[in-house]
Subunit: 322 residues, 6 copies
């Protein structure tokens, strides 16, 4: 096992940030993930029912991640000092046959699971999350889910299709990979196709915080609620960028006004230290809808915050001093 | 009289939202407004003194309204179930002779008034509102006005012209169509041409909430103030999109930083249930200044919130059970 | 049968071009196609292997077609005077299950065939053309094809998928709907995945004009060649907008420099009078890749040129005096 | 009278082109035009029937003219060495009352005429040209017109309005300011509202070169034709940027594909030496439709070519050695 | 000494805001600064380590300042009535040799200092501020600094270079021009190159308010803190636009989410009346990264707020009644 | 020595083109260039005198090169089959100290020269070419230069600086690295700072083809002229993207209308087989000025054409059968 810190991002004080091919946070590109503790990867998959483009997310997020420096705004340790972190490229996909993509993606993450590598992925649309779960998780140990989103994603099917950006929590729970009691959805809002669309969540005892709830509770209580729901068990974090306010993140397929501010998202993510993260993804950044790149930039800022709380947990599990 | 719910938007779960020609909220296009309770329409008129383009507003707002689903984020009834709502096309205009446009527009709305159809319009610049009033209202029954804007719009004239985006409240009051005591302007801010530009408002007993006032009162008290000012009488709502913060709605001729957030605007509009709306408009969305469409998207979100509070009132008047 | 000229576009000298909901060339929206000779419709379907967005093509093309006036630049008759032409909306699609879309689309066009209505469609990516053929054509009477494109579109499969933007000519010929001897592909260029990628075309006796061929022949001889290949039999025209030079039409998934100029495309299309068109489509306009709309504008200009040569043929078939 | 060369543009080899407030070609800003031979000015006026924004043309054209250097690509004399050339600001306009604008503009140019100053203006839409003529020309000496455009601009009226971008040649000829026999329109193309829309031109003996004519003649013969039509008499040049191909100049209200290339436009303008120019304008650049600025950049390149052929003529008239 | 109010901006009620060449707030362009109390100027200098373009800031900020009216949103006096304020053009720069630029810029501001003219500048990147200080300030009287920024700008060097956007406070303090005890940095946040990057600030007793501090204190206490730190001595205000939240100001080289809202920035700046401003700048607006211009518009709004608190102080010093 | 074809681009029929981190033409990323025959690399250096951004060129060009397939449009061999070709990353640069960058870049290319690796680079601005030459070439064997550009680039200095985008040919000839008799500049046009700016070229016997020359000769004779000038000796090709027409390539600092079409550029480059290329670069693509990416896409198309003529020559030198 390589010493932590063996893998380091390109030094931006030697090679300016605009130089060299783009990888996530300028980390080494290691397609075979050898010696890696936390794998940064893309899942360039989308299956949109309206405005798409999220399959181009990993490419633009790699580009914008040039701007991220090695230390978070808070705290004095860098994730790159305590874990070996690399860009392992993208999960394979079939751009025409979605069922093939689902198999390819789940295979890719199953391999990481077997090797004890923790993934932090960039979507793709939210349809990438169930295939990740299918590979990464096991029904013997269902996980909790911290779910930032403006939409519930608990449809049984859409247009007769069962595996897409709107059905993931349904599929994950059906497959026994997710423990619904330990699922919290935050940022829910926006117009709806149906009046009763929260029935699945209620039935399964999932926690839902709409923006009205969010505002009523206040940020501190929201953080406490997240911790209460997921507890100390293994937890997966999935952040749909449309959970964030479109003033911050306009470049996504279904922006819904009145969401969580970037400031709040940063503070919440920074507060999640100690949670037993088994993986995470940030998804639904659509570059064709984000010409300025601000959505991708904000997305990689959030991805980096996740990395900063994930790294100490991974390091601790591997018996390293942090 | 058709049963409520006879007219329905295209079912987005059958025909995806990117398909079919765009109408407001995907409602049927009924140029003659037959059987319609609430008429969605455009007023593609602008007469800009600086940056223009708002005459293209109805087209882009129709396009972006594809994204709106049939239920609001709150409550469990859809306006489409309790009223017959259709897109009746645009008011006629003359693009070169503004006085002709004013006559054409007021004629269009006079026809709706005579037929008891309540309009919810998309501008156009704010100069579209007085011609709407001229047709829709009658001096025998002056109405209250809920006015979201960054500007007061109480100029006597601009460049010697009397009918434009900056004079509407002046004209409406002069014509006896508006009861100044029941007018409230919310979101006022921005640099000014003159020091004393609030004199008209003071003289006539109009209520003005600047952003300083807004912040001092807080959102709840602002809602109470609106209700207090307009009371139970007939009321018109006109929302200049530049009342909203430019971080949310940059695509308008005269954006003024430091405005009302989309979240607040949503919550305020949702709270206006029971007010006796005789009509409403959302204006000053300028597509050439809004390449990403986010301003139009936010505008139609607000237009839909208005529809949701307007529909029960219209339904009740027509003796329908809601 | 309605008299020709019964259906007319909105008069842009009465209602300015920026006003009223957008339909193709401002024609009436008649979802059931009753009384229609030539049906303008969208096929909002894409199944991209790289950059997508063409499913939004019909919406933006309708918008940009506001700018088209009722007479072509040449000749003194308007298609709207000799045929009844309307926008019949979009073919139904399933955005998630491509095989379902193919059935829905072919069903839509089969209905037109049965009713003797000639379609002029806007894609969608080029994968929309085979489903159109499947519904519109019959193996008892294979048609010739005038195919503008930078790519040959004669792949046997891509990523294991058989029905997409790269396989249409292969599928059409296999199904006996297309007579390969009467197929001409014009504008072929661009880098290639394989060295021998013209073998299918050679095997089946299809005619291919690369840009080198095009330049060597000159525009006049190209026109003669098109007429020679398709002859007097029934013919379908499919124009992939990437056949046109990206200086004119940048907003498409796979732009290839060095193509056919808009001027040449206009002159060629205008010269195709008298050809027995049974249908046509213009495809691969991708609005997310075309922020200025110039690609869509050029596409509808070409669509209108096609309409101008198609209308006299349809009128003549229906026994009308033109 | 100041010596020629007294007024000089900012030296871009001392003050980089991105620095200092923008004036046309970086010339001095002299609002009162004192000592000026050729006046560069803006006419920020538009009265659009569809997509507008040309009133912002002068501002963006000044910005993009930073890139123009003091010598043309051909020849070895700079206009700034033989004439005193300055930016005299914009003609006054009334943004709300078009008749007032027409009077203000014509007054501005009448003053230049009286002082023997030759104007080279940037529109504004093409409606700016008749007010210029009204001030600059006199019916005692009608002038020839070199008219680059895709549209004929010989409507009698539009929407009941007589003074706009589509009626200028009609108004100029009626007023006796323009000699129709010495008018040549070049680049005519695009769809049309009516079949017979060239009747005014034929009636008055005006010369029209459509793109078909242009191509048939070839560039050299076109140049000869221009010289033949306007002869040696006083001549005004008006260049609607939509005469140029939209591949070069997309940022205009009514782009029509298949136009004159920038290369051809440059060569034609350079060949017009010796013509007795009494004024010129370049119009219809619409910044809101030209986000990259390429249209404005091309427009000021053409404006500079005009300046290069205009300056020797003006210098010669003023008895200066060039 | 000219009477205050001698110099006035162009009257936007006579000449619409889109007309005439752009200067800051439409003030007269007086390159030699004669009779000027407060000089508006540009410093078109950047030396970026990543995304640049700020040298184009002055040009775009002049353009967007057309929208600013002569009175602030609050208060009833206009700065133009109490001081003579003009645009004096840009400081000279050498675009290739940065040391030459530094000398040119400092010479330009030394001249203003000698003539008792107070500058309000638009950058340029933040590297423009030290050269301004070098010319404007004197080590005999070090000044306090109100520093809005997301970054500390206290690097000793970057890439071996000592004079750039990241070193200004270090250089200013070393040179004795700045009193570190009277420096307050507000809005600090974002990822960091090193863990200990606040050591310089601590060592010198500078005050730093991170966004966490900002939020904890609240806006009122922040204002009080600013006043406490800078006290009554001479003070310079430098506002890096990346101190503001990227939802408001995305068009800058290094946007950091979670910053100060425009509303807060406006209220804070308005509260700074009475502070002894010796100069101020607003910098890091990068037009190539700000296609909509919203960042420049917000920047000039802030610049105008600064002008409004600066003018009474300057007027008072010059013995004028305000 | 590795067998040719050992290194292969990612197979786009397995991994779709939108997937995986971007390298030039999807080739392997080999920072140490081991086993490489032709090195693809970036030189992210610019030192602009006006509009910049070319330092971001390599990143965007890598992104757009995803679209290039492994075979050229003409011929039946792929460069990847006959040479080992890889992306070796970017030359090191110092973003603040240009002299340091020049040393770093020349060191990088000196290393390639010593190892017999032929570079094909992506700029950066044209100032990257002299440092490349300084490392790659030796005065003992001056090379010929094929120079596509709208500008001559033979300034002695600009703003007192000697090493930049406008002086490269001057420096190359002074240093004895370039044989001026074997230099041909193609595409020269645009306004000029001085009348006599071709004197250096004349003095040294360099060949210059302006666009007038280009048009007079015709494409075939231009090709012959290129071959005549450079002959059979070692030759370097440098292509400033502003040599191409801005209708094709708008995204560059100093676009000059009326240039070489992409079609002509493709045909010319394809005709240069057999020339003894020692290196080549394509430069001046500025992503901030190229939001759609079309300039970068065209640039990598041209870069690939160069690769296709360069590879057989390199293969032949290495004694390989092609």
């Amino acid at each position: 096992m390589a010493n932590p810190g063996t893998l380091q991002p390109i030094d931006s004080l030697k090679h300016p940030r605009f130089s060299q091919p783009a990888t996530f946070f300028r980390t080494p590109l290691i397609y075979d993930a050898k010696g890696v503790d936390i794998a940064l990867c893309g899942v360039p998959f989308d299956l949109p029912t309206n405005r798409g483009g999220a399959k181009h997310g990993p490419a633009q997020m790699r580009e914008m991640s040039r701007l991220i420096r090695r230390f978070s705004a808070v705290g004095d340790s860098s994730p790159f000092d305590i874990c070996n972190i690399a860009d392992i490229g993208d999960a394979p996909v079939n751009p025409l046959i979605s069922s093939a993509s689902i198999d390819l993606i789940s295979g890719f993450f199953a391999d990481l699971r077997e090797r004890g590598i923790v993934p932090l992925s960039a979507g793709g649309d939210h349809g990438c999350t169930f295939p990740i779960w299918k590979g990464l998780l096991q029904s013997s140990q269902p996980v909790g889910v911290i779910h930032f989103d403006s939409h519930l994603d608990t449809n049984h099917e859409i247009y007769g299709d069962f595996y897409n950006h709107g059905t993931l929590l349904c599929r994950g729970i059906e497959a026994g990979l997710i423990d619904p009691k330990r699922v919290i959805s935050i940022g829910i809002r926006g117009t709806r196709f149906a009046a009763n669309d929260r029935s699945f969540n209620k039935l399964h005892g999932m926690t839902v915080l709409t923006m009205d709830d969010y505002e009523d509770l206040g940020r501190k209580a929201v953080i406490a609620k997240i911790r209460e729901v997921v507890g100390s068990g293994p937890t997966y974090l999935t952040l749909d960028i449309d959970g964030i306010d479109p003033a911050d993140c306009p470049g996504t397929g279904a922006p819904e006004p009145g969401g969580i501010s970037m400031r709040d998202a940063q503070v919440i993510l920074r507060s999640l230290h100690g949670i037993d993260f088994v993986g995470a993804d940030v998804n639904e950044v659509s570059p064709p809808l984000d010409p300025s790149g601000i959505t991708a930039l904000n997305a990689v800022n959030l991805m980096f915050e996740i990395l900063c709380v994930m790294a100490p947990v991974v390091a601790a599990k591997k018996g390293r001093k942090t």
